[in-house]
């Protein structure tokens, strides 16, 4: 890709992304006193992450059974409140193991 074209895209992309984060963070400083509005903003991170995970995780590996293995292990490990890294690595390892099993089944 042409360097000037790339840098133009990059600038527009990065600057927009930055403003989306920085404008509310610098301008919106008041502590929210309304219980309802406060509850809304307390819930948003969890609903955003939930919506981003489902159904996207089912298609993350290109194979439903292996994705389900990763999902199941992630759910169990998080239920027991394991660390972020343990859950992420556990999910990857489970997916890899399931991929191995699938390969064995297909070979037979």
């Amino acid at each position: 890709m042409n360097i000037t074209v790339f840098l133009t895209y990059l600038f527009v992309m990065a600057f927009t992304t930055y403003l989306v984060r920085a404008l509310p963070f610098t301008l919106f400083r008041k502590k929210i006193t309304s219980k309802r509005i406060k509850a809304f903003f307390d819930l948003i991170p969890y609903t955003v992450l939930s919506a981003m995970t489902f159904p996207a995780i089912l298609y993350a590996t290109g194979s439903l059974p292996t994705a389900c293995a990763g999902l199941a292990v992630a759910l169990v490990l998080s239920f027991f409140e394991k660390s972020l890294l343990t859950v992420a690595v556990g999910a990857c390892v489970a997916t890899l193991a399931a991929t191995g099993v699938m390969m064995l089944i297909q070979m037979k």
């Binding site: 890709m1 992304t17 509005i37 948003i44 991170p45 955003v48 998080s78 239920f79 999910a91 991929t99």
Partner: protein
């Protein structure tokens, strides 16, 4: 102003820093995110190079954006020679959740977060960093937040570099398995909270359901982009929580902070 901030100017800064968390604590909390990002951005590096970017371009995109979904969309627009307005709108829509998170995090920051620090630290606000910061039982200070962003940013950029250079060497089944890691991280943020709060549990399930509806109902899928789908699902689910649940259980945390 930078040198002053390290030395204690007046005694109020000491309890404030302790209350808002230390740089070291942030660094420690960021380690897991950084390692997770290393594997996730590896996939992005592979994708960027296969979309026609060179390795240093892929690294620059990661260094200046620090956002998985936005970058994937942005690189797609670059490789399709899309318009700059399209680029701008896609980034606003996909990353709009950061605005919501920024406002939400604003409710938890301590007095050390002045305008300049906010403007600088806003660069590192991601889903996982936000998730960890809001789940702390203390206020979020600038030193803590800075520490929290260091390793994830390093991991994100390093992973992109490795993926861009080594990606072709790795077999596909391995890169596919690594892609689950990012969702594992999302789950590890939501589940422990949902376990202790029925409201979070209910709202998360509603968000998942709406998100699935927007994905599986053909008419909805063809009319609503995936970036918008996340926003719609998240906002509706949170509104249900606000209007259908009493807010006593959320109150106790606020008293402590």
């Amino acid at each position: 102003m930078a040198p002053e901030s390290d030395v204690k100017i007046q005694d109020t800064s000491v309890p404030a820093a302790k209350n808002g968390g230390t740089f070291h604590e942030g660094l420690k909390d960021g380690l897991a995110i950084g390692l997770g990002y290393l594997s996730v951005s590896f996939s992005f590096g592979i994708l960027a190079v296969s979309s026609g970017l060179s390795w240093w371009q892929a690294v620059l995109v990661s260094l200046t954006n620090i956002t998985s979904a936005g970058q994937v969309a942005g690189v797609g627009i670059m490789s399709a020679s899309g318009g700059l307005i399209e680029m701008m709108i896609s980034q606003i829509v996909i990353n709009l959740r950061y605005s919501l998170m920024a406002i939400s995090l604003s409710q938890k920051t301590d007095r050390s977060m002045n305008t300049v620090k906010r403007a600088l630290l806003a660069y590192g606000l991601t889903d996982e960093i936000f998730g960890v910061a809001v789940s702390k039982d203390h206020e979020v200070g600038s030193k803590y937040f800075f520490g929290l962003t260091v390793l994830p940013v390093t991991g994100w950029v390093t992973g992109t570099l490795l993926g861009a250079i080594l990606g072709g060497i790795f077999p596909e089944f391995l890169t596919n398995a690594l892609a689950v890691g990012i969702y594992g991280m999302f789950i590890s943020i939501v589940i422990p909270k949902a376990k202790h709060s029925r409201m979070v549990m209910a709202c998360s399930l509603i968000a998942c359901t709406i998100s699935c509806l927007l994905f599986y109902v053909p008419w909805l899928k063809s009319h609503i982009s995936s970036g918008f789908a996340v926003i719609i699902a998240a906002v509706i689910a949170a509104l249900v929580g606000v209007f259908c649940f009493p807010h006593d259980d959320e109150g106790e945390k606020e008293v402590a902070a």
